[in-house]
Symmetry: C2
Subunit: 342 residues, 2 copies
């Protein structure tokens, strides 16, 4: 009943030409008479012909798909608000072009390497996105070795053979700190992400540098892990300091929201006793109490740009330039306030 879809041979028969001519016509190759091309296109249209990308895959050795490997600890049901929007952005590019996105969620570093190897070995994808860049990221060498094209989300620290699509974290961080300084804060602490991650150190460095520009030192610098649990712990440590900070800047919203809870549990009122700022502008940020001052990027646009760039690299006409996206910007809500003289 589900009548077989027409193949290129059916189109050829209907147009009264050979398979080869049909292929030429469909791919816009020169060398065919215009009249013939028109006839073939009409025939294809009438039959409702669609290319089989299985067949195309085999003959042109392409997968017509891009890959994303996310390394996440499933015990912590972590789910970045970043990625659903990012993926939607990627999708918007792939759906034109008839490409697909292959996703892998793996739980540790070993699986991660295995995941990329598998994508390459099975020829599942024509290229991959490299997210959550780490210092001396082993994936860069791995992908070079595998010969798998890639685009890095933000710029790795060392040399990289891959184009980078960048959304700079630092201006947002600078804005947060300057915002707090303007509110009169002088004892400002930072809860950073794991220093293995480039974006964690970038934010921490921007934090320290901005304070330094104002002639200040961090009132505390806790290295944490981007999780809510880590945020709680780091916050407790900071609040236990002799000179308690009057403001804490977190490297992501998850830690900030957890830290907000920790501060409240410790009997502090936010923002009266303590100002708090996050990073990401996750959905909840707006709706916790008090609303979280944070930094907002545009992950959807990030996804679009990354997909476009990766496709350019794969279609491979020459070098592909890095792309610079508008940086994340400060969003002020109620969790930060003018320092009360006490």
């Amino acid at each position: 009943m589900a009548k077989d879809r027409p193949t290129i041979a059916d189109v050829a028969a209907r147009a009264g030409v050979s398979k080869g001519s049909v292929s030429f016509a469909l791919n816009g190759r020169p060398g065919l008479a215009q009249a013939t091309v028109d006839r073939i296109l009409a025939a294809a249209d009438e039959l409702g012909w669609r290319p089989s990308n299985r067949a195309r895959s085999l003959s042109v050795s392409k997968a017509f798909a891009l890959g994303l490997v996310l390394t996440r600890d499933p015990a912590v049901l972590t789910s970045d608000p970043f990625f659903s929007a990012f993926i939607a952005g990627v999708e918007s590019v792939l759906s034109r072009g008839g490409q697909a996105l292959v996703l892998q969620v793996v739980t540790d570093g070993e699986d991660e390497v295995a995941g990329y190897r598998r994508l390459a070995r099975d020829g599942r994808v024509d290229g991959v996105f490299l997210s959550d860049l780490r210092h001396d990221d082993p994936r860069i060498d791995l992908l070079s070795e595998l010969g798998l094209p890639a685009v890095t989300l933000n710029r790795p620290v060392g040399a990289s053979p891959f184009p980078a699509v960048c959304l700079d974290d630092r201006p947002g961080t600078v804005e947060v700190v300057e915002h707090l300084l303007q509110l009169g804060h002088r004892r400002i602490a930072h809860v950073a992400g794991p220093p293995t991650f480039v974006h964690a150190t970038a934010r921490a460095d921007a934090f320290v540098a901005t304070l330094a520009d104002a002639g200040l030192e961090p009132a505390g610098l806790e290295i944490s892990d981007f999780t809510a649990a880590g945020g709680i712990e780091a916050t407790r440590k900071l609040l236990a300091l002799e000179q308690r900070p009057t403001a804490i800047v977190y490297a992501n919203d998850r830690m900030a929201i957890a830290g907000l809870g920790a501060a409240q549990q410790a009997g502090l009122t936010v923002p009266d006793d303590l100002s708090i700022a996050g990073f990401d502008d996750s959905e909840l940020a707006e709706f916790v109490h008090p609303g979280l001052t944070t930094v907002r990027a545009d992950p959807y646009a990030f996804g679009e740009a990354a997909a476009t760039t990766l496709n350019q690299l794969i279609d491979g006409s020459g070098d592909v330039a890095d792309v610079e996206l508008p940086p994340a910007r400060l969003v002020v809500r109620r969790s930060t306030a003018r320092l009360e003289e006490s």
Copy 2:
């Protein structure tokens, strides 16, 4: 340099047999002498041969991939904690078997239909997961029409030609309500998800039924939308009631956490003035202040079971039975407390 990978012809040459024999040996087909099979397998092993699933795809008309289409509003950078763990579970099954997961994140109903059509038309996947079931879900007919095998996550309300993998929401909801009743609450309200969703009504129905069993009526029933913003609004309405509820049960954590913020903003202390419970046990649930009483499922196992079942359906030997997973269970934290007589 990147020497071409060995093909089945190379293996055949090395083992001194024909291509066909190699194919038989590798697929464990009977009819070959054991000695020959051993020789072929050894040759394949020595050459490091791996099947090309592009070629296999073409000749057996299978994609060796499963699909998941998520409909999410990217403006609300919603990201279910459910799905990253679910996907990791799916992945754990697919990685054995050499399959891949194709993910689409779409932003509205039209794109959703187009997404499934595209997956089917392009032969991208051999089957799909049907999540976030709706009443009279149009996707069931759509997929039947497309002839795309599917597994539903939980059971649709009407007839369905597809096997269902079920993780019952209701026992958890019943437990929440009973927990609150035991704490002495009598005015308990519910913030439900959109009634189009089966799981939203399932939770709401279980809520109402459990109260009814105790001879009570809901102290309020707000229909919301699973978002934080919706949770805020619903909470405000409930708190404005003449007879304010002493406890609110939310259909998910996101609304509950937002509701928590709203209650605090309204000057209430949770749980002293108001008990609050969520659903999902998202990461933040444990770390907001006070820690959120909620209901926890095992989305990783859900993913495993769904993938296994879908594969059984695709490999298609006979009917596939529905799968019943252990239901979600109550997790008690600090956001619910004994009702203080006032």
